[in-house]
């Protein structure tokens, strides 16, 4: 859905950068799972999502602002955090896109990519500044959605996970359920809020506000299978250039399927992301099994209490 009008005909340069597509590359089957819930819509739609390529993020925060403008999210004027250029700190009820800034001493592989190296004594390592725009992952199996007792959280026809502000009663259950700390309750109105993947815009075929604004196309929006293919291409490109640090996060359905996944240059936890998230809510057996055992024990306990006599 991102505009892909050719700008230099014949050159293959299009409005949306196609620098990600490598010709002749074999693309693995990556058709993402259609999540439970999405299947039941009258009309079948491809699952839509985000590929956030943090290697081209310039930390401009246009995504944060565009999101807030579109969704009328209130601002929260705080203090300087002293944490690089990040003053909104984390995703939350009033920040649905959040840009992380990480200052690091580490070899800069991107410089090796072009055969350029910065000097500096070996033991120092080189400096790099990582930036990454985080967002709700629109999980294939979303713990938040599973636990919501009101049906406020639901799966849309695009395979995304949305809170319905007209339903949410602020029970707060989804907050600790989310493995990524995405959801939070807004003090002023008692409800929880998060990225809707611009559900309203998508209904009209529009690109989400954050992706549209992103100057460098760090945020790419589209059908998830296409995005995963692109991402694999980009990853290959980086690996070929010697950027061994590069990795995809959330692109593998077997591990943890995300509708919004990322290309990172370091361990996820460095960006504030969990290294191995789990769908905690689908472990019905171990969860309810233990409860059944406990209930049994309770029955046994009561029975035992009467075993010694009724009075």
């Amino acid at each position: 859905m991102s505009d892909s009008h050719p700008i230099i005909p014949g050159s293959g340069i299009t409005g949306a950068s196609d620098a990600y597509n490598i010709e002749g590359r074999e693309t693995p089957e990556t058709r993402p799972l259609i999540p439970l819930g999405q299947r039941y819509y009258a009309e079948e739609k491809p699952r839509m999502g985000f590929f956030t390529d943090t290697t081209v993020c310039i930390g401009c925060k246009a995504c944060e602002v565009a999101c807030k403008e579109w969704n009328n999210v209130p601002d929260v004027i705080g203090e300087l955090t002293g944490q690089s250029y990040d003053n909104t700190s984390s995703l939350g009820a009033n920040t649905w896109r959040h840009v992380a800034f990480i200052e690091q001493r580490k070899p800069i592989k991107m410089q090796q990519e072009a055969g350029l190296m910065t000097p500096g004594s070996e033991e120092d390592g080189e400096f790099r500044w990582l930036m990454s725009s985080d967002v709700c992952k629109h999980c294939t199996e979303a713990p938040c959605l599973d636990v919501c007792p009101t049906g406020s959280l639901f799966r849309t026809e695009f395979g995304t996970v949305v809170v319905q502000e007209d339903i949410c009663n602020g029970c707060g259950y989804c907050v600790p359920a989310c493995p990524f700390g995405v959801l939070d309750r807004r003090q002023e109105d008692g409800r929880v809020w998060k990225c809707t993947l611009c559900y309203d815009r998508q209904k009209d075929g529009l690109e989400p506000a954050c992706a549209q604004a992103c100057p460098t196309d760090s945020i790419q929006f589209g059908p998830l299978d296409e995005l995963r293919e692109k991402a694999n291409g980009r990853l290959e490109m980086l690996h070929e250039a010697g950027v061994d640090d590069a990795r995809l996060y959330g692109a593998n359905e077997e591990e943890y399927g995300m509708g919004a996944f990322f290309l990172l240059l370091d361990d996820p936890e460095v960006y504030g992301l969990p290294p191995d998230p789990e769908v905690v809510t689908r472990k019905f057996k171990s969860l309810w099994g233990a409860a059944a055992v406990a209930a049994g024990a309770l029955v046994a306990g009561v029975a035992a209490a009467f075993a010694g006599g009724a009075r």
């Binding site: 009008h5 602002v65 203090e79 910065t118």
Partner: protein, 855 residues
């Protein structure tokens, strides 16, 4: 270099990122590691204020290693031209050029000429109130000899006085070691840059420089850019796609406001303002301002058409087209002398329309003292900015230096209409005029500047209608009958009608198709000659919004908006082809000579008469563009060549030379001359300077500080500190310091610091970061302090203003202040309040023996 493009031109930066994805190398040379550096292949730190040493080092590298693009250099630049025998270089005079007058602190440029030419001395007459800066730009470089070439040349580039050899000598001591010594940039790093640049230039490849105010805001700002120009000319990177020196300009229409200037020294289209002594009539004006050859050969036509636009029917050949209605310059009338005039009382009134000097301009206190000494002040803005509120909430009120009841300024705050509430055009950094349409009507008393000026003019004219005073004729004869928009509720003038006047018309009132038909006989009218054609065919060409994908595959997208001149997107594009008119390479072709059609073709509008053959040689007596040869791309210059050496037009020398900033903790390692000898200084009590190295007390201000922008805020903050969604992203004023400096001074991340100069002290939260590195310069470690300058006393978020720290010292060519390099001290904790603040600064001044002068 000198630009933090990812942060300050983020959407433009998409093309840089795109290029990187395709394999381009991005190098960022900046004192700090910024968001641009993060996206670059290489970040190269340097000490603020030392770029000429760095770039001069590259020039030296190119010359020493024979890496220049010979064909280009010989044919398209003035490298082969022989320079006057009287010329003496900084190498001979320890940092000065020939012609320096210490008395007046200025140069007489007559010794810088090409051999065999005379020049109407342009530079160096400041005492006479001579021509400076942009104006002198157009002064001629002398007459040309046979075939449109300068009189004496050596195409082998061997002659000891040819520009090429002079250049070689001038930069011979700018070695990698010297670069390291001055800039603090490790030698290996510097060499990587030099090599990368050379490698990526030539026939097949081009490199571009992007700069912005990291370069201009120095006492040698113009010469920074000149050094880059020399490199690009040597490497053949100008006038070609993917090449050039790209000025990333500032505000939405800063380019427009220089083209159609709200500047003292020029009229629309860069026509110089007339000077009282030199330009007593139109003829003298044209004679003295323009060369016969090159595009300025048509100056009279442009000027007459402008006068017709101003005074219409009243302007006739008989009355010199009302030339005498134009006020005359006698010297520097830029905002800085005007400010001094406000303090001294001779400048009594002030219109501030779309600027916020109380926060945005250097030496905030001086700015506010000026405001406080006016008779009347008109501030037009969206919100009550600091320049409107200074009389009750400036820092000087807090310290007791000013008292509200004692400020006599009468202040009118007039709410302004936003761009969404008016029609009009902005000219962006690419010289593209883009029209914005009104979306909604302005509310309340909000009005456009168009409305304000039109009705102010109308009222003044009404009030003076019966005047017989000759000085009022210029007002009463003014062509001021703009149509009013029909639907408008409050008589908004029609912006398109104004644009039409700017674009001009001929004797039949038909809009001009371009500047080519503009005449000197008064038959054409044109408000800004370079914009001629913007209203061609009665169509607002700037309002064209044809999607780029519908433009028949031309990636230049010529049908989106309109670029001056003549919708040309790359100027000097004749240089994209070789002297014979063939593309230098297939890969880099842009425009070329098509022998069959007998004309130039390509992707863009050629920057040469379309049918001028590559082998064209002007006949004797040819003027203007006809006097330029067919193999010369630089058509604005009299000789059609790119100037490596500038014989006329600059006040501070024909070749860029490294000087230390006005305030610097170091001595000039190259010359005895410490700073730019002709830099402008304002030695007055309101504007004390920190001592520089060599002066006693320099160590009281041991650190270098530089000021800059953040993506999240805009300039003086009036357009971002009023917006919650931006304010929350950078809520507080801060300073950036290295861990080493933090340790040295006991600063804590997230804590407070006080930064002190001779002007005042401000407080800021501390951000300790590896992005600022201490540099080793002349055997000493120097720490740099980074300060964004977006905060002030009004808005959703407030804070101290970095500009209160800076003194006023200017580049002598364009009167731009040195915002990018000065010295300071820093200490932990918040600053004192009230009179204690004044005492603290006084104490520092005493210890440093800060002075009002400039050496």
């Amino acid at each position: 270099m000198g630009s933090n493009m990812a942060e300050n031109h983020p959407v433009g930066f998409q093309w840089v990122v795109e290029a990187r994805l395709r394999g381009a190398k991005i190098i960022h040379v900046d004192p700090r590691f910024t968001r641009t550096s993060a996206m670059s292949n290489l970040h190269v730190p340097l000490r603020a204020g030392t770029d000429i040493a760095f770039l001069g080092g590259i020039v030296n590298y190119i010359l020493e290693n024979d890496r220049y693009f010979r064909d280009y250099v010989v044919h398209y630049t003035n490298a082969p031209v022989i320079v006057s025998e009287e010329y003496a270089d900084t190498e001979d005079l320890d940092g000065l050029f020939s012609g320096y007058d210490p008395e007046s602190r200025s140069y007489d440029a007559s010794t810088w000429q090409y051999v065999g030419t005379t020049v109407s001395g342009a530079a160096g007459q400041r005492e006479m109130g001579g021509i400076t800066g942009e104006q002198a730009h157009y002064a001629q470089a002398g007459e040309l000899g046979h075939g449109g070439e300068p009189p004496e040349m050596d195409r082998t580039l061997e002659h000891p006085r040819c520009v090429f050899q002079i250049l070689k000598k001038h930069y011979s001591r700018y070695t990698p070691e010297m670069v390291e010594e001055i800039c603090g940039t490790p030698k290996e790093l510097f060499l990587q840059v030099a090599e990368a640049l050379c490698e990526n230039s030539g026939r097949e490849k081009t490199s571009a420089f992007c700069y912005a105010v990291g370069w201009t805001q120095h006492t040698v700002g113009v010469q920074y850019i000149r050094t880059a120009a020399i490199i690009q000319l040597l490497l053949g990177n100008i006038g070609r796609p993917g090449g050039g020196i790209l000025a990333l300009r500032g505000h939405a229409s800063i380019q427009g406001s220089t083209d159609i200037p709200t500047l003292y020294n020029i009229l629309p289209g860069y026509l110089p303002m007339p000077h009282a002594h030199q330009h007593q009539n139109l003829e003298m004006y044209v004679e003295r301002n323009s060369a016969k050859s090159g595009y300025w050969g048509n100056m009279k036509a442009y000027m007459v058409s402008l006068l017709k636009a101003y005074w219409g029917g009243a302007a006739t050949a008989e009355n010199d087209f009302c030339f005498d209605y134009l006020p005359r310059l006698t010297g520097d009338h830029s905002i800085y002398p005007a400010l001094m005039g406000m303090i001294d009382g001779w400048c009594k009134g002030f219109f501030v329309m779309g600027e916020n000097p109380a926060v945005g301009a250097a030496n905030g206190k001086l700015q506010r003292l000026a405001l406080a000494n006016l008779d009347w002040l008109i501030v037009r803005d969206f919100s009550e900015i600091e320049s409107a509120s200074f009389w009750y909430d400036s820092p000087e009120i807090e310290t007791g230096e000013l008292k509200t009841e004692e400020i006599g300024t009468e202040v009118f705050f007039m709410p302004a209409a936003a761009h969404t509430e008016k029609n009009g055009s902005f000219t962006n950094t690419q010289r593209l005029l883009q029209w914005h349409f009104r979306a909604v009507e302005p509310q309340g008393d909000c009005r456009s500047e168009l409305w304000f000026m039109y009705h102010l003019g109308r009222k003044v004219r009404e009030k003076l209608a019966n005047s017989t005073d000759p000085k009022d004729r210029a007002i009463l004869d003014l062509n001021w009958d703009y149509p009013i928009e029909e639907e408008s509720e409050f008589e908004e003038p029609d912006a398109e009608a104004v644009l039409r006047e700017i674009g001009g018309w001929d004797e039949n009132n038909e809009p001009l198709p371009s500047y080519l038909p503009i005449k000197a006989d008064g038959s054409t009218t044109c408000g800004c000659w370079i914009y001629a054609g913007v209203y061609a065919d009665e169509v607002n060409q700037a309002a064209r919004k044809k999607p780029y994908w519908e433009q028949g595959g031309n990636w230049v997208a010529p049908e989106w908006a309109w670029a001056w001149p003549m919708n040309r997107r790359i100027i000097y594009n004749r240089a994209s082809a070789d002297p014979e008119g063939r593309p230098w390479s297939e890969r880099k072709k842009y425009i070329w000579w098509d022998e069959e059609q007998g004309q130039w073709t390509g992707y863009d509008v050629p920057d040469i008469s379309p049918t001028k053959r590559p082998d064209y040689e002007p006949e004797a007596g040819a003027v203007a563009e006809d006097a330029i040869r067919g193999d010369k791309p630089f058509i604005m210059q009299a000789d059609g060549r790119g100037w490596i050496f500038v014989p006329a037009g600059l006040t501070d020398g024909p070749l860029p030379t490294h000087y230390e900033p006005h305030e610097s903790p170091f001595e000039n390692a190259l010359y005895g001359q410490q700073s730019n000898p002709v830099r402008e200084v304002y030695p007055r009590p309101e504007n004390p300077y920190n001592p520089s190295d060599g002066d006693p007390g320099a160590r009281v201000f041991p650190y270098v500080f530089t000021t800059y922008r953040l993506t999240e805020h805009h300039t003086a903050g009036g357009m971002t500190r009023t917006v919650g969604h931006l304010s929350e992203l950078q809520p507080e004023m801060f300073c950036e310091v290295s861990p080493e400096l933090a340790k040295e001074r006991g600063l804590e991340n997230d804590g407070w610091a006080t930064i002190i100069t001779s002007r005042t002290a401000i407080e800021a939260r501390v951000l300790v970061t590896d992005r600022v590195v201490p540099m080793k310069v002349q055997g000493r470690v120097v720490h740099q302090v980074g300060l964004p300058y977006h905060w002030g006393s009004k808005g959703i978020v407030t804070g101290d203003s970095a500009n209160d720290l800076l003194g006023l010292t200017l580049d002598p060519n364009v009167h731009i202040g040195e915002y990018k390099a000065a010295t300071c001290d820093i200490r932990p904790g918040r600053r004192p309040r009230g009179p204690a603040l004044v005492r603290l600064v006084e104490d520092y001044r005493r210890r440093a023996e800060s002075h009002n002068g400039g050496g």
